[in-house]
């Protein structure tokens, strides 16, 4: 398949990338791993006139401890998130979820920042970082700002990022030994989740994120409230779809999605309970 014609420029640093995107304007796009953008371009669903390749901005690929958080560079590949000893110790839910993104080829090219900035509600990592209470760091022409994951997602493929802003870092609180579970339900291993649930629990505290249950990733606050109020996993899971607004597609009707969200949330709560 052949995309529409476009220009290609490569940035050596985040600052240069932001300069370039400012220079080319609205029709320019950042290219990181390219595993969401390029397929859309090949189908001509996306037709950017310029690609600003940030794939070789080496100083944005890292995973390091920073107090009670883990800081992850936006260009860190899924495979590196999956296999990080730091994440395995402090945020195992995220490492595990990263291992469910696409297939090994995708995980070797795709980046965590690219996945989050793409804002696809069917992707695994937006809902997972949402459940974990992550904060995203964005850099623009006027410096950096932090955006809570809960404030980041505005709708299908749209986020709080301004066109000339670039996601540079993801900051995830350490899980502090919380129990966790990632329930991804799909028909083929490589596919997006039909419904996914990322959950952690520590005592009566918990976080539950839903994949593919609305036009944005969903924080299932009602489930967390129910758990905090002492509800059983089964009872709390009944509230799984309270914040959701799922759509039908070839794989699932709306009522089936709601049902799956409840079943998978119950399983996730059971699996993550101390």
């Amino acid at each position: 398949m052949i995309p529409a014609a476009f220009d290609y420029v490569r940035a050596g640093s985040a600052a240069e990338a932001i300069d370039l995107i400012g220079q080319y304007g609205d029709e320019a796009k950042f290219l990181a791993g390219g595993h969401s953008l390029v397929p859309a371009m090949k189908l001509r669903l996306a037709q950017p006139t310029v690609l600003v390749d940030i794939g070789r901005v080496a100083d944005l690929s890292y995973i390091r401890e920073d107090g009670d958080q883990i800081a992850i560079g936006a260009l860190t590949r899924h495979m590196d998130v999956e296999n990080s000893p730091v994440l395995a110790e402090h945020v195992p839910l995220l490492a595990h979820a990263a291992g469910h993104v696409g297939d090994p080829q995708v995980r070797h090219r795709g980046t965590i920042g690219g996945s989050l900035a793409h804002a696809d509600p069917a992707s695994d990592l937006p809902a997972t970082t949402l459940a974990l209470g992550a904060t995203y760091v964005a850099q623009g022409p006027n410096g950096t700002r932090e955006i809570a994951a809960a404030d980041f997602y505005h709708g299908y493929f749209t986020s709080a990022l301004a066109p000339d802003e670039m996601l540079t870092e993801i900051r995830v609180p350490k899980m502090g030994g919380a129990g966790w579970s990632f329930q991804k339900f799909n028909r083929r291993a490589q596919d997006w989740a039909i419904v996914g649930v990322a959950a952690w629990q520590r005592g009566s505290e918990c976080g539950v994120g839903l994949v593919n249950m609305a036009s944005t990733p969903v924080l299932a606050s009602s489930v967390a409230s129910a758990v905090a109020g002492g509800a059983s996993a089964a009872d709390a899971a009944e509230a799984a779809a309270a914040e959701a607004d799922p759509q039908a597609d070839l794989n699932a009707s709306v009522d089936y999605r709601v049902h799956l969200a409840k079943v998978l949330t119950r399983r996730a709560l059971e699996a993550s309970a101390g």
Binding site: M1, I2, F185, N251, Y256
Partner: protein, 795 residues
Amino acid sequence: MTMTDDTTGVLGQRMLRREDPALLTGEAKYTADLPIPGALHLAVLRSPYARARIVSVDTSAAASMPGVTAVFSGADLAEAWAGPMPCAWPVTDDMKSPTHYPLAVGQANYVGDGVACVLATSASAARDALDAIDVEYEPLEAVIDLEDALSDRVVIHDEIGTNRSYTWDLKIEESEGDVDRAFADAAYSVKERYIQQRLIPAAMEPRAVAAIPQPFGGDMTLYSSTQVPHILKVMTALTLGIPEHQLRVVAPAVGGGFGSKLNVYAEELLCAALAQRTGSPVRWAETRSEGNQATIHGRGQIQDIELAADADGRLTAVRVRLIGDMGAYLQLVTPGVPLLGAFLYAGVYELPKTYDFSCTSVFTNMTPTDAYRGAGRPEATYAIERAMDSLAAEVGVDPLELRRRNFIPTASYPYEAMTGLVYDSGDHDKAATLAAEMIDYAGVRARQETQNVPGATKRLGIGVSTYFEMCGLAPSRVLASLNYGAGGWEAATVRVLPTNKIQVVTGTAPHGQGHETAWSMIVAEKMGVSPDDVDVLHSDTAIAPLGLDTYGSRSLSVGGVAIAMACDKVVDKAKQIAAHQLEANPDDLEFSGGEFRVAGSPDRAMPLAAVAFEAFTAHNLPDGLEPNLEAHTTYDPPNFSWPFGTHMCLVEVDTETGEVEVLRYVAVDDCGNQVNPLIVDGQVHGGVIQGLAQALYEEAVYDADGNLQTSTLAEYLVPAASDVPSIETGHTITPSPTNQLGVKGIGEAGTIASTPAVINAIVDALSGLGVRDVPMPASPNTVWRAINEAQGGQQ
């Protein structure tokens, strides 16, 4: 000939395929890999509407774009064709077939129907120019539902005045009314409706074409990713009006077909016609989403099947009514597909002459359908094997026991079926027994007692499928009786070179099957040489001018047998030369291990290598004998080949999510003698997965307006390795008595047997919840809905 018992022989060895190193290293050259200097690139503009009048096509803007050399609408090329696109199987004398050209003229009839095309100096320039072609469409109502099509509420093609292409009947009774009486007298009967969803063949290599005009005189070489180079040559010559002897067709490495490349496509004709018109090479390579729209689809039937049985559950009559979905036009063998299954709706069971089959095929505004792995036979096997499970439930016996009661007895072979066809050999009980042992059928039934208790959310199910496949297409006279437009023979030439290397020229056209390996093994066995000394030439009509190509599990049982017969002719001639040299009577010579020996005189011998050199120098040949060792055979098989077997599938269904996990899959297939069991296993593995994919994953989905919803591989769910079970293969060996190798086809058997085995297993798992059927594909959502409906929405 007992090849599989002879462990010292070549036949029956699990030899690695000689084709694979080039394929695995990426060195194999597919059509799109061929370097063709100066080639123009073709791109096709496709209708976004399922049915629309083409009001106007303005190509001027596209024609002025950089790199573009020409732009054509369908109307611009209307005079380029000597005839419309071919359908070679007019199944009835009154069959209706709308005129079909490579680019639509006047009206587009499916999403993907070609409307205009561009030639440009690069593929990207051609693709970009498509966006600049301005087509004014007047959208018309599309017909998607088969029964709606049958009603003629909206007639798709004005020129034929109906959506009905044909009705084809096969009614077999001793006296009129026998079928009705059998149903009236039946102790048990079942009536079921099954939907064979549309499938997209999705061969690994998308289609690709390159047409290269040769210098002077009008000769043309057409490269294509096709499984039928010989048929393509004849049909291209007829459709374009190119004298056939000026056309050479080559199929380079071809990455799978499954029937989708058993066709003559618009792009092949466009490349050839435009190469002829421009004098430049013209090439085209399909994108995956183009392939999903504009390469043929498979299946697409509504099946109504009724079984009548006596008090013991023995079949007393079978009645079948089909509606076949032809899609928008008839492609090469589109209308014949249901006929290939028409004889098989009684499966492997004894049935008196009480059989009533009728198929009505209709046009719809969707991609044309055609042969897809199994072609008609998977559909038939699915219907009878699903209905046998329903009958077993009705009678109250185990599904395997019901099948045993109905099996054609082994002693009856060769068995003349009620249709008049003679099944060559079979032993169904043996295959079923082996499969039951392998999967521990009795043990599974016991486990179900403890696992499938009320309230259980993980339910165990086992599915059985026993099958017969009518393949090895085919005796030419039988094809004639079905109105098929060609024969079923195959050609072979065997040529011993002066240094005792052997060239085999075959009319088969491998595209993944491993013919080079298998044919070399046959020749090695027959001629007493190493397989490494045998070269197999194929898929180029200049090298292998005669042939009928590869489809319908025909290559070994027709083409391979032709090679064995040609070897016999070469040995006969060599024997005359050896006898002359050894001063012996040819009748006294024995040939084995590559050496001629005089019977009773072990010291008087001559190796084939020496005979080959004598034949080449021709210094001292018997009077009147021509030089060289070469023989040609064209073999028309006296019968189909009839592989059979039993497949069993063990599943666990999660009733909370509807997810089906295949725990085990056992395939026992009997394809007679096996030339290379490794290749047999590979065919079974791939076939089973393809059939399992129909059961669980794949469906070409259209919306009500005729838009294909599964236009990429993100929506059309071809399972990957991680999504499918390990296949446990077992074999029984019942040689075919109709050919000297004792072989039967195996390319389609896995696909034919597996789909009903999987669905039977799912329904078995859920039978305790009141589920009687689950539509295909049995996605989690579909299974969950079936449980809900059976439970009255209480789930």
